[in-house]
């Protein structure tokens, strides 16, 4: 049995493991969780020749400092991430994202920070040795569900790795274009009519600011208070990722992967599936615009998004 693991020498701000997410649990109040940026999660797996459903380490802003113990592995990091590899002999290499590396016993990975984005992903060939809870590895820190007893990783924790030996000797590297577009496409929500004509216009025409109140549950925006002329509360009902709720103060909130499963604020819009990765990566201080699209347009855009994801995945071969 493999006794290879990462020892955590610095935990980083919010280091968890994530995968596609956990389904069929909303009705008892458990969010999907899963990687915020699903495309980069898949790409990190593919770069080390993994099944796309393997768990990866997700980190936010400052990432962890990890030391490899008892093995030799392949790893890759995706996202817009500044990192270094510190070899056992203390020589230091600047890391490049979207490339697989060989890591020897006692080498370290120092994930210094993400750049102009929030999340990055680290995968190892063969995946991590973790237990699934309700069919997912994803850590949900709000309900303490998933790997590591549902808690984010902290100093001295160990993350065990399935393979103890190198599986691939071929270097794989792709060129990835980080999305920088700040236009977020939205389908009108079920309570769009609750808002005044002026508020409806503002919503699709003016800029909104991403505030510091942003985490895996959601992102609060500011800039324009949207006037509600019907009711600032609705009878609580289900939520999904991407829903934009507007509470009484008029400032929109976008729901992300760890959102509460039920909410009582009017839904002005829903971010289209193809733009969810990009929304999740918005850093506080970003200025964004919402653009209305129809259901049919959203489906076509999603197809283009999927084709692009597949193009990148194929380049990893």
């Amino acid at each position: 049995m493999s006794n290879t693991y990462f020892k955590i020498l610095r935990s980083g701000i919010n280091t968890t493991v994530q995968d596609k997410g956990r389904n069929h649990m909303y009705h008892i109040g458990i969010a999907m969780s899963g990687a915020i940026d699903q495309r980069n999660y898949k790409l990190s797996n593919k770069l080390v020749n993994n099944d796309l459903s393997e768990a990866v380490i997700e980190f936010a802003y400052q990432g962890p400092l990890l030391k490899l113990k008892n093995g030799k592995i392949n790893f890759s990091i995706t996202g817009d991430v500044l990192f270094k590899i510190i070899r056992k002999n203390l020589s230091v290499e600047n890391g490049i994202c979207y490339k697989n590396y060989i890591l020897e016993d006692e080498d370290q990975i120092d994930i210094i920070s993400t750049k102009n984005s929030v999340y990055g992903y680290l995968s190892v060939n063969g995946g991590f040795k973790l237990k699934k809870v309700w069919n997912s590895y994803s850590i949900n820190t709000k309900a303490n569900i998933g790997s590591n007893n549902g808690k984010k990783y902290s100093l001295e924790d160990k993350i065990f790795i399935k393979n103890s030996d190198l599986q691939i000797n071929k270097e794989t590297k792709i060129i990835y274009n980080q999305a920088s577009d700040k236009i977020i496409r939205v389908i009108k929500g079920t309570n769009f009519d609750f808002f005044s004509n002026e508020a409806q216009n503002i919503f699709f025409k003016k800029n909104f600011l991403v505030t510091k109140l942003a985490d895996r549950m959601g992102i609060r925006l500011s800039g324009h208070e949207l006037e509600n002329k019907v009711s600032t509360n609705i009878k609580s009902e289900g939520l999904v990722r991407g829903v934009i709720q507007v509470p009484a103060d008029g400032n929109p909130i976008i729901m992300l992967s760890d959102h509460g499963t039920i909410g009582g604020y009017p839904k002005i819009g829903v971010v289209i599936s193809a733009d969810l990765d990009r929304v999740g990566q918005l850093i506080p201080g970003s200025i964004i615009n919402f653009k209305e699209v129809s259901l049919e347009e959203a489906q076509n855009i999603f197809k283009a998004y999927t084709d692009e994801t597949n193009k990148y995945l194929n380049e990893c071969n």
Binding site: G21, N23, H24, M25, Y26, H27, I28, G29, I30, M32, V133, W134, K142, A143, N144, I145, G150, I187, G189, T190, K235, S236, E237, G238, L239, V240, R241, G242, V243, G260, T261, I262, G263, K267, V270, V271, I272, S273, L295, A298, Q299, F302, T306
Partner: protein, 228 residues
């Protein structure tokens, strides 16, 4: 039955059963939930991620790379729904300690309702409640309806942290905070019973939509010595 069906974004179907909040309407929503869940479990439909019943809505989210709005909409409209019968559901008794250190909002409630703590508790404990839905946080049940005389709005300023196990009321509803969480409900006591248990993989949530719930008062001594 479903009054209106529409899309919520590009990856969810929104079924609207009207605006009424009642056991009758909610049981219809739960019937739809059960019928759809059965098809998902038997792998007769692909792509559904989650189905969320609430008072009078049902939201079905799906994976847009597998299916789409029109496909799921058709499945819902073609569904042969077996009407839920009320007595198919569990009856659950929940212990609650209402000593002042747990019942944080009796002063406020007495102010608003003009009833004493004793009178409020009598009305609260004398009723069987129906679970409309579970959610917001893991396992939190939304129960109703509480007696008209003890109904009261949410706190003007919600608490940043409501203790785990807190039993709260607002408007016609009662709930239990299964985790420490922010919240604005009026807190009347605390239960030592585990309402959500991550280690129980089969049935983590003790109370599910459609179940009936009674509360009974326990002493602080019983609370501290509670053993499941």
């Amino acid at each position: 039955m479903i009054k209106n069906i529409s899309n919520l974004g590009d990856a969810a179907v929104y079924c609207d059963f009207g605006t009424e909040i009642s056991e009758k309407i909610n049981l219809i929503v739960i019937s739809y939930f059960n019928s759809l869940s059965k098809l998902v479990k038997e792998q007769k439909i692909n792509g559904i991620n989650n189905i969320t019943p609430s008072y009078n809505k049902l939201i079905i989210s799906f994976d847009l790379s597998i299916t789409n709005y029109l496909e799921i909409r058709k499945i819902v409209l073609d569904l042969k729904v077996k009407n839920e019968i009320n007595n198919n559901h569990k009856k659950i008794k929940i212990p609650v300690c209402c000593d002042d250190e747990f019942g944080l909002d009796f002063n406020r409630l007495s102010d608003k309702t003009k009833l004493s703590k004793k009178e409020i508790l009598e009305l609260y404990l004398n009723k069987e409640y129906f679970c409309y839905m579970t959610g917001f946080i893991a396992g939190m049940p939304f129960l109703g309806d509480i007696d008209k005389d003890i109904r009261c709005n949410r706190l003007e300023t919600p608490r940043v942290k409501v203790p785990k196990g807190s039993v709260g009321i607002t408007e016609q509803f009662a709930n239990i905070y299964t985790f420490e969480s922010p919240g604005g409900w009026n807190i009347i006591g605390n239960t030592p019973q585990k309402i959500f248990d991550q280690s129980n993989l089969e049935e983590p949530a003790l109370i599910k939509p459609g179940d009936k719930v009674n509360f009974y008062q326990i002493s602080k001594k019983d609370y501290l010595n509670w053993n499941e």
